[in-house]
Each structure stands twice: as C-alpha cells, then as structure tokens.
Point group: D2
Chain length 401, copies 4
C-alpha cells in the first residue's frame, strides 16, 4: 500500500495530523494488553493528572475519549448543555462553521456571530449581546481558539474579560484543537469551562484521542444536562474513575503509552519552550510570506497564528495547484484552502513536533512551487527572511549544551 | 511505564483486546500522513470494499468510525431508529445489558427479553412477540451474536427465520463484536441489517475502529431516523464517499494501514480457515474444562462459543483470585467474571490471532493456577484432553507445506 | 516476504537466535544516528561498563564487535595467541568442533581432547596434560561453557582448579555463547581470561554483536600476539577508548540502544533471577523428556544444560522429521540434530526471554509431534511432569506483587 | 537514553550511517527467527541474486557478511591475495589511508600512490607502474571509488582502460562504500573483481552487513589465496550456498528483511533514478557552497562527488565548531574533517534516502551556522543557488503523477 512511495522523508506541513516523534512511535510499537489488569489504570491515572498541565489547569477534570476532535466537540456540548439552550458561537472559518453545524444539529439555539474569513471573532458583538442579556438566556459561548482554516487566533482573555464585566454566568467552551500544547493557553486563568484538543495535533500523536478538560462549573452543569448521549457521557467516565478502573469501554493501549511518551517529551522540552518554538516557527513563516510578496489570509497581526499560516495567492493562481504540486514533485504536504477560501489560500501547518530546519526546507519547497505555478518569486527570498530572524532567535538545545 | 515487566511474552487470553500479529504491528509503525492527499482515499476505498467480506456481504455499505464498540452500537441505533421506537432486545449477559442500557438512554422503547446468564436469547419469546405484532410496532430486533461475558453464541439464522415466518419488517441489528472474523457470520444470507464489530477483537488490531456494515434497508431507514447525532451520522460519511475523499473528519492513518494488513492476513489464511481455527480452539478449551471437572457457564452445547469460554468455579473459590494469580505469577491475562457472574466465572478468550500451542500454554497455566487456589485438578489433564483432540484436527500450515 | 505466514505467534525454541522482548524491539525501532556525535560515546560508555556485569567481572575490559559468535571466537584467539601456539581444546559437539576447526585454520597447534557427544569435556585428560607440561608449552585452554549441539554444560571452576593446582599460566578462553546471561558464569572468580557471547543468545537481541570480556592477563597477552588481524584487533578499540570516541568503525546504532534496553531488563529482573528462571525451564524440560520415556543426549546430570536440551529419539524415528513437522504444523521452531547426532536428536532451546507458559506450550506441541511421527507418547504426560515441578517453583513476579 | 532529545527530526547529513526509510524500519521491526527454517534460505536466495543489480553485475557472486565496511575490506583482501603480494593502492584521504593501513597490517606489499587530499587517484603513476610491470608482480589494484573524507570520486573506467592497455592481469579491488547504489557503478563493464559496500551507506539500512560482489576471476583467485582467515572466508559461504542453507553462521534476521525492503524501494524508484537524484543533490550542494563563497575540498570538477561534499572553511574558522554548533543548535548532523583536513573542512553527506527539501533545510541550517561562527555569509544565498538549479531539474514523483 506504499504505492505512492517517494524517496526521503515526507515533509508533513498540514495543520494536522502532524509529525510523530520517534520516541512516541517507539512507545506505541506494542501488542495489546488487558485493560483491566492493574497496569492500565495505574498508567491512566498518571495521564489524567499530567494532561491537565497542557491546559494549565489544576482544578479541571480530564477525559481521554477514543474519538476525534469532532467527537470531543460533541462531548463538550452534550454534557454541559440541553436541547434548546442558547449558544453564542463565532463563525470565522471552516472549522468554526463545522462546529456550529454540529451545534445546530444537536438542537441548540445557536446565535451565530459571523466575521469575514481572515478575521477573528467579533467580540464587540459578543459584548453587545452580553450587555442586554440580563436574563442570562445565553448558556454558553463557543469559540475556537485558533481557526485552522484561516490561521486566526482569538484572544480568549478578552472573552473572559467581557463575561466578567457583565457578570455573565455563560459557560465558555473552547475548541483548542490547533492551539493547546502549541499556543499560550490558560484554562484556569481565563475561566475556560471546557477546553478540548485532539491527539493528532500539537501533542503529535496519531488520531484517536479526544482530550477534554472540564472546569468544576462544567462538571456541575453536566449533572443537569438533558442532551441525549451515551458514548460521550462524562458520567460513565466519572463512575469508572471512582472505581479506579477508569475505562467505561476499551481504550487504545497504544495511544495511552503514546500519550505518556508525548507528555514526557513535552515536559522535557518544557511547555513554555514548546510554545516559544511555535512562536518562532510562526513568525519565520510569516516573514517568508512577506518576502515572497504574498499576503497572509489573517488580516491583522493580533490574530496571527503560530500554528498555521494561510497564504493568499494571486487571483491568477489556483492554490490547489500549489498543494497538488507540493505532493507530486516535492513530497511536501501542505493544507488546501477550504470552502470560502478554496483555491485562494494554501496553508502551511507549523505545529507539533517540528524544528526550524524542517520549516526552512518546507519554505524552500514552497518557493520552488510558487515558481512552478508561475508566480514571480525570488528563490531564496523567503528562506533568507526566515533564517535572518531564526539565526538570531533559536536557542541552543538545552540537553546538548 | 513498563513497571510491571515480566520476562517472556504476555499470554493474552482476554476476549479483547487481543494479540496483534507482527505484520500488523509493522504496518502501523509509521508517521502520520495528510489524509487529504490522494493516497489515503485510495487506501480507504480498498478497505471499505474488502471489509465487506468479513461480514459476508456484497450489498452492504461499510463505515469505519474512529470509535469503540460502544460507539458502533450508538451509530447503529441512532442512524436507523427514532426516539420512542420499539426495540426487542435480549438480555443474556453483561454486554447485552450494556447495550440495552444504551438503548434506553437513547430514548428507545426497549422490550427486554431476559434469559438466565449462561443461556442464549429466548427466541420463543421473540416468536410470541412477532406473532402478535401485526401492526409492526417492533421497529428493530437487537441481539448480540456472541455474548462475551458468558460465552454464549446465538443462532442468528433462527431470528431471520422467525422474522420471515411472520413477514415482519423489523430491522435486525447485530452486535458482532466478539464474533465477526472468528465465527460463521452471514450478513446477506441472514438478512442482518446492521452488523458491527471493533478493531481490537477478531481483527486483531488496536482499539480505535468501530466497523459497521449496513444493509440497503438500514441505509433507507437512516434517511428518516430522527435520532440526534452528528459524530456518528452516516450521512456525513456518505457525503464524503460521494466526494471521493471518504473522511468527514480525521481518521487514524496507522489504523487504516493496520486494517489493510489485518485484512490481507485474514484473506491469506482464508476466512473459512480462520473460522475453523477458532472452532478448534473453542472445542479444545471446552475439552480441557471438562477434563478439569469444571462446568462451562454456557448451559447448552448449541450456545457454546468458539471465541470465549466462561468457566464456572466451585463456590469455595473466588474466580477473581484466579485472574489475579494468572497475572501475578504466570504473566497470563484471563477475563474476569462480570456483574452477575463476578467471582463465579473466569473467562478464557480464544479469539483473534492465536494458535494452538499458545492455547495449550494457557491451559497448562490455568491448571497450575487452579491448583494454586486449592482446586484439586490433575495437572496435565486439560492439556491432555485438548491436545488429544487437536493432534487429530490441526491441519498443516498451507504456506509451509 | 512473509510468504510462510502462520496465525499466532511463532514458538521460537531454537537455542538462538531467541525471542526478543518487546521493550528491546521498541528501543531498536529508530533511525540511524551520527556515531561521532557526543550521544553515542556517552551511550557506549555505559554499555561497556554495564556489560561487564553479565560476565561477573570487575577487572575485565569489554569489546562490542559488530560480528557474530564466530567472529568473537576469532577475536579471542587472534588477539591473545600467536601462530603455532599450543592450545588444548575440547571436542564435545558441533560448536566445539567448529571452534577447533577455526583454531586449526588460524594456524594454532591444537591439542584436541575429544569426548563422546553427550559427554562433557574430559578434564582428566586436561589434568594429565597439565601435569606433564612443566615447560608451559600449552598457551591456552579453549572450552565451550555450554555445548549448544548436545546440551552439555562444562564445569569451568574445575578447569580453573586444575590450572591453579599445576600453577599453569595458560590462558583460559571460554565460549559462553549459549551460557552467559543464562547460566551461572563467574569470569573473575574462575579466572577466565577471555569470555564471549553473541547478542542473539541469552541477551535476546538480534544477531550482530560479538560481546567479549578480556582479563588483564589477556590484554597483556594481546600486546605480544603476532596473529594477523585488523577488523578484530583489540588495539584499535583500545585506541578509540582512550580517545573517548570508542568506535574504530561504524557500530549499529540500533543494536547499541537495543543492548541498553536488554541490559536494563536483565538488571530489572535481576541476573540471579534470570539464572534461576533458566534453571526452572531446564529442569521442567528434562522432567517432560523423562515423562515421555525419552533420553537426554547429555549422559550425566552434572552436565545437564539449563539453556538447551537435546532429546534422543528412538532409532525408528528421524529427528529431522520432528523439526520439520513442528514448523509445518505447529508454528514451532525446534533445533535440528547436527553432524554426528543428525537425525538422532532434536533440540529444545530454552534460553533468553522466555517464561514458563511458553515452555509448556512448546512441550504440549512436542508431545503432539511425537505422536504425529509414530512415537507412543501419552499426551499431556510431559506437561504434567513439568507443571508439577513448576507449580511448586515459580515465584510471583516481583513487579506485580 | 534519549537524554540528548531535541524537538523535530534529526537532520542526518553525515556520509553514513544515513537515513533509513520508514518502510525499511517497518520491515526490520520483528522478532528473531530460526535461520535454519525454510523461510530464511528462500529469502536469502532472493537477496543474493537481487543485490547483484546494485553492482550492475550478472556474473558476480555476492556475499552478505555480518560485519562493517572495514570487515568487507578485509574479506576482499584476504580471500583474493596472499601475504607478500604486491598491491598498488591509492592514498587520497582518510578512508583510503585506513584501507592501506589494513593492507599493510595484513602483510601485503603495498605500493602506495599518494595524492594531495582533495585530489583523485594519480592514474598517471598507475600507468607508469603497469607499463614497467611486464612480470606482473602487481597482484591487485586497490582503489576507493569515492573517498568519503574529501568527497573525491575516482574514474574507475580509466583504471580498467589502463589495465587493458597493458594487458595486465592484476585484480581490481574497489571500495564502493560511499558510492554503490548512489553513483554510477558498473562492475562487469569496468571489470571490477571485488566491489564492496556497507549496509549503512547508500542502501540506507542500519550498520551490520558488509556487501561484497566477486567476479569469477576473484573467485578463482580465492582458491589459491593463502591469507589466514576464517570468519571472512568465502569458502565457508560457498559451501553453504551449495547446501542451500546459505549461512555458515547466524545472520541478522532483521537486516535480511530490511535489505529485502531496501532493494524493493531501490528497484521501485529505479536504480538510474536513484543515481540521478544523487547527482541533483550533489550539484545543488556544490552550487550552494559556491554561492557562500567557500571552496570545495575537491580540487577539480572531474572528481566532484555526488554523495559527499567536503567544504573548506577560511583559516580563521575551526570547522569542528561548525559541526558542534550544527548539533547543539539545529539538530543537524554534519561530518567532521578527518586527519589532515581536521578543522579545515566540514562535510555534508548527501547520500542515501534523502530528497531535495531535506537538503535545502540542511543548507539553510549551514548558512545560519556559518553566520554563527563569524563567516560573512549572505543568508539564503546557498538555498537560492541550489533551488534555482533544483526547480529546473526535479522530476515529478513517478508514483504520484
């Protein structure tokens, strides 16, 4: 089934699934185990505890659900809300759109706040809605921290600020799929009630774990939620947490050991260093885009994403051609433009287990592809701009000094 | 995290998750890939087609959902039925119990037909219900093919016979979690409408795929189902099937390649040979149990399961001690007795990628453990009985003749 | 290339290469590395130090040569001896024969002391030679600790006793290929001058490392040896040890990390526990052979080997048929009879990363094969005898209590 | 033992050991096997046959020896020559130096033809020696095809031309360690008598196989060679070839399956395409070096190597600092300058399983390091020069069109 073999490494620069570190691949290279033996609960206990750190939460309760980000969304919503509940939800790109679609199909009353794709969530509208909602009809605010389709990062602290300003009790539900473990994220400080990510994103694992952190307030809300759910029901998890066996149904043994290894690597590098590395990679990418004379789909600096950059191409170029070309000629995997920005942007994912030289190789590839498709780029220009910045910024590798 | 290390192989004889063959482990030992590249849809297409063969279906539509068996249950129910729909469901052990619990929590009107644990589904009661249901208030029959908690296999052809006898249009939904790929299963011939299994069972993969086959009638029913669902919604899959991109959300690249390898191995051995192998292992286990002077939890031969044997222990022994001892002293993983049969049975899982000498090693271990816990077993007696049968039954390995 | 696929685990009971533990496979699942980076010497240093422990030596110098046991033999001989040097060497089976062949082809003057195959080294003859060698014409005694072809273990302490008795300065060179890490071996206490093993034996790694420990006296001898060698020359190693870069040529990165993992597992289990486990497996095997009414090729208890048992078959049976049958029908790999005992014995290797239930599965298989080939064995008899002993001897697994 | 962990992939650009492709890692991720079962000889047979193709030989006999390149050298020499035989050998860098050292220590009479490091073999001197050797005292010409220390490729066809011109029967022994499978190599056409490589070079496997191809003339010579050898003796191999069991001692099962996968990948890509890829990578590297204003250690274009480039640094820079810095800051592994060129050159290995974007990432890294150590490089300049060439040269990936 490797019928699309190409020599050398695949340069994986989609914003997920991302590159898996070798130590994690090693940790997952194992037979199944009885998940009812004493070993698996002991392992699980360390995971549930340590995974809180990636949310910067000490008060949250964590769930490792055998599902994807879409399932994690569903779990966040159906455990904390009841059908008909009013949600304020921000539509700023394809993934917020999909979440809103889910919210609607789950029979919530979704109050959609739309922005142009390339802009962040319109918090002014949020404020105006909160200001007039003295009756607290808004039960939850749903927001993606980082919109993967456009490379837009929202300011969650401002959302919290507004909720506090109006003393509004709405739950704050956050999609952190392409942010957590890569961008600065502060569950407790920002009063996030449910935050979630998927294992195949910044944690750099295979797909298969929806990772959720719920605040005490979210847990409290879950007691009265009337949404119909079984597989995603937190109560079943909590029951088994109390029993000390942890699993209401069979987990993936491989992903548990993989998560253990992934967390160990994150903590060894240091979560703050991981975030700083993503910041370097994001900035370097944007400098290259600028040097190429292209525009970032993200319209203002305040929304720039350090995990994915959506690059606008001139109208005479179909960005899908760039992605196709990358794969066919350079063994480089880039992200397509989705929905409204299909054909208009291509995306460079720079999240997860990546380093600077990998990014520079990718940027050198993108330059050649741009030339391939007829854009008059100066070869080397993006790499020059990125490396001028990086050469002044990359620290020595702590373990090797 | 291998703090429970013991020398040699772990003898994994729980009825799931089961032993993964080396070629499958190898196939999964890989980095992530862009699932939107042309490679992944091409692979997926072969999987969706080939996986039908394990159901013995040519007319079904298959779904590979990133979930567990519990999620596959939910998908089967919520796609074909609407809240309030009447279901006839058979309670014969812990897993049918859990499925019924799910059916009830999903707001179906469940007509539970209970049997003593150790017996099969009471099809006489089914017949009596069908006989009086001229108005077709029964929308579905839900049945586990093989109850993993008690080692009971139900006769699905009889269920079909009854439905046909009464020309009843109820859907036939089958949990094949511990049967498909191991027991004789005939989706099309038996008129099963939805059948499902999990990757960590007879397919011998890690946990993470709920594998579902839906008949044309089930697909038709899914168009009018009003159950609330998004993650499990077949419509989203069908939309992407039509687009040729196949995935509404991110699949596990590793499990896709693993499934490819698992199917290749199954077809190389031959599905009928795989079933015959399970039949040998099941019979050998039962002969050993008999030689030990112990009783099978399954009360009649017609229900004997070829994938798991639940062994009743004398009342002066706690079967949990046997399982604990197996793990602590022999690196052998056996299944606990669950719920009503907790402490009363231990279970030997003999499904998935196993051969006869592995089973004999396990049986030799069980004999020693029985003696450890005070049961007056004659050491070697079970192995003698099992191997007397096996020595006359095991064929030469076709690839090695 | 898995065209000889058979379901389930291969039961690997040849006396090498042996089963590799999963943690070791994991450790070796990695890309190449620059062996001149600081990481590889740091790793190597720990290996050279820790590997001394498996020899029970504190004064020795160790070498990890990218070769096999045959190469390790050559390294031992050519570094310590000069062409024409007189060696007393014991011929007791195929591997001692091959070593003697090598000694002769390397132009040493080999004084062969032959025993019937199935007997140990004739130390009486050694004594008589030492007694009359006042001129110290004998430069070295070459002896296999455990003859893998016949399952005979020689008593090295007696050899040392004789050398001391006659104050003879001959070097003592020991092939520990199928003993070290499995049998009691005491380099320093027994005054062994060169001991060697191969990675694919009791260390349970892939083939590829010849592991050598040289006493100070052997190192001293190496300074004046005039044997021609380059690849195997210890001097090149010692030069790079002094430089702190350790490798005169490229090592296998994977085997180095694998050796690290293998040593970690050995030390976690405890070297004495490992030896005790081999003792249990050896005794259990011999009890089964006895129960079958068959004879051990090894003629006296004092020579019984705990790592391999050569079983004599009745003259009307060709033992090769047993080995062929094991592979073709039971996915069981047994050792052939070699040279003088070809067709007369088959061998059960019970060394390396194995546990008791694995052995019992193997013994159950051998019983069926014996019946297959027409030997009137009572099925279950060997397993019964072995497990009666094991049930009283196996300790709880320390990490799981 | 991953105490030197750094995020992202290690950029491995030493000229061996090189990057292992994922399919090869997968193929090697396996337990040991009985090498005397029918499976291993069947596999070996395909390997011995197919490996001839990488030498472009149909008449040669191949050997897969569990050793390194150093051992393969020794095998080539000791099987074809006898002590005292006169060899003409070219000293042009560290690896030819080491081979000559070996030749001398093996007691051959070595006629060393030295060139300045950075130049190729002086074939004029060879001609003058052949011209006067009417008595055929020269028994062999020993030459490295590609000197890894300086990045110099010798023209073997000229050596053959000279031998033919003078109708000289000397054997032609070629070290192809850093050339075979990467550079154009034509065993039969060039009348090479022994050619050899190591598995960790262009074949992109772990270290552990010395791979040798011997011409019929070399095999004939081996019959009369009086050099002392056992482990490296081809006769033992040939004996087991005739028996159909192939192995005189235990091979590495993992490397055999790995070699099978490596050959499959090479043939899938096409050997000529592999060579063309190396040619692209070599040229791109040299263009970058030129753009940086640095000199290639290789003095003339005719000797430029497509597998390794040794870059001369200005006298005020210690090239070791560059290598150290690469590892400590960029997770980039470069080759040190060795012996005479220590401190003066660093080496970029561009052989094995590599693609263009990987190289460009490396070059971008080298630029930053040059700046780090005080060389006034223009960032992006090397990448620009290399990618201008590559953008016009890289073909589409055949399997993906």
């Amino acid at each position: 089934m490797d019928y699309v073999y190409a020599p050398g490494k695949n340069h994986l620069f989609v914003p997920g699934p991302v590159n898996i570190p070798e130590p994690v691949l090693r940790a997952m290279n194992r037979n199944n185990e009885d998940y009812r033996s004493p070993a698996v609960p002991a392992l699980t206990k360390t995971l549930l505890e340590d995974v809180k750190k990636i949310f910067k939460s000490t008060t949250g309760t964590t769930f490792l659900i055998p599902t994807t980000g879409t399932g994690a969304w569903e779990s966040a919503l159906t455990n904390t809300l009841s059908p008909g509940d009013r949600i304020v939800s921000f539509l700023i790109g394809q993934f917020s759109l999909l979440w809103i679609d889910q919210q609607q199909r789950l029979n919530f009353n979704v109050d959609v706040v739309e922005s142009e794709w390339g802009q962040g969530a319109n918090l002014d509208v949020l404020e105006s809605k909160l200001a007039v909602d003295a009756g607290h009809t808004i039960k939850a605010i749903c927001i993606v921290h980082n919109e993967t389709a456009t490379g837009v990062t929202n300011d969650l602290s401002k959302v919290r600020f507004l909720l506090d300003k109006y003393k509004h009790p709405a739950l704050l539900l956050v999609d952190g799929v392409s942010s957590i473990c890569a961008l600065d994220f502060r569950m407790d400080e920002w009063g996030v009630d449910v935050a979630l990510t998927g294992s195949q994103k910044a944690l750099s694992l295979p797909t298969g774990l929806g990772i959720i952190c719920a605040s005490p307030k979210a847990l409290e809300a879950s007691k009265t939620s009337t949404s119909v759910k079984v597989f995603f029901d937190w109560k079943d998890y909590l029951k088994f947490y109390n029993l000390g066996t942890y699993w209401p149904y069979t987990p993936s043994i491989q992903l548990l050991y993989g998560l253990r290894a992934a967390l160990d690597l994150l903590f060894e590098e240091g979560l703050d260093n991981v975030i700083a590395r993503h910041s370097r990679l994001g900035k370097a990418t944007r400098l290259a885009v600028e040097a190429w004379g292209l525009k970032n789909c993200t319209q203002k600096e305040e929304w720039f994403s350090d995990t994915v950059t959506a690059v606008l191409v001139p109208s005479y170029i179909d960005s899908s051609e760039i992605v196709k070309r990358a794969w066919k000629r350079y063994n480089l995997s880039l992200g397509l433009g989705l929905n409204k920005v299909a054909g208009k942007v291509f995306r460079i994912g720079h999240l997860g287990n990546l380093n600077e030289l990998q990014l520079l190789g990718c940027l050198a590839g993108v330059e050649m592809i741009l030339k391939d498709v007829g854009y008059p780029v100066k070869l080397g220009s993006g790499v020059a701009a990125a490396s001028a910045y990086l050469q002044n910024s990359i620290p020595l590798i702590p373990s090797r000094i």
